[in-house]
Amino acid sequence: MSDVDHAQASELFSSYWDEDLGPDDTARLEEHLRSCIVCRREYADFEKALGAVGGLPHEIAPPGFAAGVVKRVHKRSRGRFFATRGMLDRVPYELFSLVMLGLILAIYVILQLSQPGHVKIP
């Protein structure tokens, strides 16, 4: 593949690295690399660089990360993000408020009925 110049050869580096080149291009590039010291050095640098990138350690999330996410979601949504839990899982404030309203209404009616000047409708 002496019909490939340096620029054309370097254009093929990525595909060659990914093993994504067709057999003809692979053969042409390999032949060029055998005969051209400049491109051989270039490809050696390319291989080394990508080897180093691929060799970066896989970082893991710090301890407490998951708990931090849950806390952030709760905070951001003021606790309303997740589905409301059933009445038995928490203090039933709705039930309390209904009972209290009923009680107040009952007291009011009783007081009204027990007043001396109350007019009874026949």
């Binding site: 270039e42 640098d45 990138v53 691929g54 970066l56 350690p57 979601v73 589905a83």
Partner: protein, 204 residues
């Protein structure tokens, strides 16, 4: 000839069930997603940004976005693809923001050295068995590579991280970025050549 690892598509079924539970705002499903994907998201974000402090904030925001937007997830891609897309977009936005503020990451070698001393997983760049000099060499190389990645603009950086750090296929990368495969390949080639030039100049 090995059998297919998931002949009944159990992974996909499990994922669909998980998504349904998420859409029903089930807190346990939320915790499961964070547990399953936290390290993938963390690694992507950290390699894109290069700072642990920023990475923690962004990675948490990724999950907040996931759960805010889960109703709009139609399931036409894998959950991990969708997560990567959200993470990549958050990183790109943060990079633009930090770029406007001329933010520079510092001290990552010190952190890496500390991690090494604390007995974290050795990597190809930080071999444990060859003595302290080799370890230091590996850590310096890690810093150099991280610096080289940080010099790329956000469109090129995301491709390097997805392909060469996360080892994703081109098909997955096109699904994440929304770019045509040819565009991904040509941009990635330019990014790789820039990395090669930077590392070769600095003896990496």
């Amino acid at each position: 000839m090995g059998a297919s690892p998931d002949p009944l598509g159990m992974t996909m079924i499990r994922e669909r069930l998980l998504i349904r539970r998420l859409q029903q705002r089930e807190e346990r499903a939320f915790q499961e997603v964070v547990r399953l994907y936290q390290h993938k998201v963390w690694n992507l974000v950290f390699r894109m940004i290069g700072s642990r402090e920023e990475a923690e904030d962004i990675a948490q925001e990724v999950f907040v976005t996931v759960f805010k937007s889960i109703d709009g997830f139609r399931g036409d891609s894998k959950l991990s693809t969708w997560l990567y897309r959200i993470a990549a977009n958050h990183c790109k936005n943060r990079m633009k923001y930090l770029g406007r503020r001329s933010y520079k990451t510092t001290g990552e070698l010190d952190e890496a050295a500390e991690r090494e001393l604390q007995g974290a997983q050795p990597s190809a760049l930080t071999p444990h068995l060859d003595g302290p000099e080799k370890v230091l060499e590996g850590l310096q190389m890690e810093k150099l590579v991280q610096e080289a990645i940080a010099l790329l603009d956000e469109d090129h950086r995301v491709l390097v991280v997805l392909r060469d750090v996360e080892d994703l296929s081109y098909q997955e990368i096109t699904a994440i970025t929304g770019l045509a495969e040819g565009t991904v390949k040509s941009r990635l080639h330019r990014a790789r050549m820039a990395l090669k030039d930077y590392l070769a100049k600095r003896g990496g």
